[in-house]
């Protein structure tokens, strides 16, 4: 995913990516990332958990505005199935 992200950014569109494998993101080095310690197949969290999906999407959108250093990986620290989203 990071390669596609880098290509889009290089074309002149700012990007933010959700990452669930920090090691890969650190190697591929996309410009802006939000890392979640979540299982594969769940970048926005659990099915039908609207508050969770919304929060993570807002985190990614906020990363577009707040990250100023290329390659930054933000880590909100939500614990899978434990964090209470509202």
């Amino acid at each position: 995913m990071g390669l596609v992200q880098r290509a889009i950014e290089a074309e002149g569109i700012p990007t933010a990516g959700i990452s669930i494998l920090r090691e890969v993101t650190e190697k591929v080095r996309p410009p802006r990332s939000v890392f979640l310690r979540y299982p594969f197949g769940h970048p926005l969290g659990e099915a039908f958990n609207v508050a969770q999906q919304r929060t993570i999407l807002l985190d990614a959108l906020a990363a577009l505005e707040t990250i100023t250093e290329p390659g930054t990986i933000l880590e909100p620290g939500y614990v899978w199935r434990r964090h209470r989203f509202r």
């Binding site: 950014e9 996309p30 197949g41 970048p43 609207v50 959108l61």
Partner: protein, 172 residues
């Protein structure tokens, strides 16, 4: 640990479903295309005024579109353009390398179109780009250079044509 390099991709990922800790071990050992210089484009206007596009590598496409090629061990580097207001019944996921049962029930788990629409209605974003783009991820070997040189830049150019001011990307 050289074992992982020789096993077919599908087998490795089946193992990850059962033992997630294997994934980070694999990631540490696997050779990725490593980035040196990081491309950078500053945001031109606040998110609240920006048209946002979604791009996913979770294998999402329309049922009417050709599925991603799961027979090729190097993956399928091509992409599918999908109307961002496509009906959910018309979407499907072709991706054998991760457990997409949650996303099969609620596509927002990998492609948050409903959440983006809600944010647009609330004025938290300026708008939604007309198309989302689906890749399948897990591209290896000879297809990597096609992804980098051909398909990813093509989607980037299309996103510009779509009027996207910023893009959120979601993995599998």
């Amino acid at each position: 640990m050289g074992l992982f390099h020789e096993l077919p991709n599908t087998l490795v990922v089946q193992a990850f479903k059962r033992a997630p800790w294997l994934a980070s071990r694999w990631a540490k050992r696997h050779r990725f295309v490593e980035g040196r210089d990081i491309p950078w484009t500053p945001l031109r206007k606040p998110v609240a005024e920006s048209v946002i596009a979604l791009v996913t590598t979770a294998g999402v496409h329309l049922k009417s579109q050709e599925p991603f090629d799961m027979e090729d061990p190097d993956g399928d580097p091509s992409f599918r353009a999908i109307l961002s207001d496509a009906r959910k019944e018309d979407l499907t996921i072709t991706h054998r390398y991760y457990d997409h049962s949650a996303a099969d029930g609620d596509i927002n788990v990998v492609l948050p179109v409903d959440r983006l629409r809600e944010l647009a209605a609330e004025g938290r974003i300026g708008g939604i780009a007309p198309l989302v783009y689906g890749f399948m991820g897990h591209i290896h070997g000879r297809h990597l250079s096609r992804l980098i040189a051909e398909f990813a830049p093509e989607v980037a150019r299309r996103l510009k044509g779509d009027g996207a001011d910023a893009v959120v990307l979601t993995p599998a």
